[in-house]
Amino acid sequence: MNRIRRSMLFIPGNNPGMVQNGDVFDSDALIFDLEDSVALEEKDAARELVKQALETFEFNAELIVRLSPLDSPFFEADIEALKKLPINMILLPKASVEGVKVLEKQLRGTNINIMVLIESALGVEKVFDILSTSERCLGLMLGGEDLCVDLNCKRTKSGQELLYARMRVVNAAKALNKFCIDTPFTDVNDEEGLQKDAEFAKALGFDGKAAINPRQIITINKVFSPSEHDIKHSLRILEARDIATKEGKGVFAIDGKMVDLPIIKRAEYIIEVAKKLKLVSDNDED
């Protein structure tokens, strides 16, 4: 199965304290940021700091760098520095079909993949095309803050203004078998709000959620991990499936409810994720 991407923590690229300690927060992925969190006059310094850090330290998390936008004067220098580094993905801000094509061309001959940041009204409408532009493009993140500026609406805690965008990007990503990460929850002091927002995103089909503060990681990881109940129920389904197969039965029931292929597939997926997270062992399946 693909990597588990419950949480992705943004790390300001010009902050050595955050950069060197990125791995201790248990985020599934780290996004070293060269864009919004870095002042214009410090772009060169952030690029060099991230480069030196990635050449020095071995991180356990998946490594992503958000570079400067295609239409900025820093894009070329960012990409030149990044394509030689041991990173998994580049996060392309203000993603467009054209932007992915340019990035794809620049990354030829490397093992670096692309993740797109969908943060404009046009980006939301074109999300299927953007994701389809390159096989290197593995998934997306929704950028709620910039999108709301583009939509000329207020960003609220309930997130009702993002409902269409969230549903649309999830559907496009799932249709293409790519991952999708929800926008960050920006009030770092509101843990309850974060939990609700993450639970809602999970219910819509998102694979994980971005974080802008290490304190958000525990909540996000918990929400996007299979629950104890889900794991137990899935193990029962798989056990019943094995018995039914031995007895030559096509369909079977658990607690009076018919179990068919989509339910079995979902149970298999939950157990696979649970195994990766070491929430269940091979012995539990016996």
């Binding site: 902050n15 050595p16 304290g17 060169d44 060099e48």
Partner: protein, 89 residues
Amino acid sequence: MRLTKPAKAGTYESNDIYIMIYPTEEDTFIEIESIVSELYGKHIRQVIEAVLKEHNLTNVYVKAIDKGALDYAIRSRMLTAIKRGLEHE
């Protein structure tokens, strides 16, 4: 090689180092202020000297104010300062 102008890089934040470099007619001189000077002052100097040597830079006055930076951060701030100091107006 010589610097074309003074330059600086880094911050006074914890885990960082603030580097200032100036072209000078004198021999290269490195001045270090550090919260861990007694333990690591010599090592910080070695990292700074190594970066200067890599660039064959001479006649530089380096002033470094260290806030507990690791080697990679010292190196990256030196590299940024040098790039900035070699740029033409």
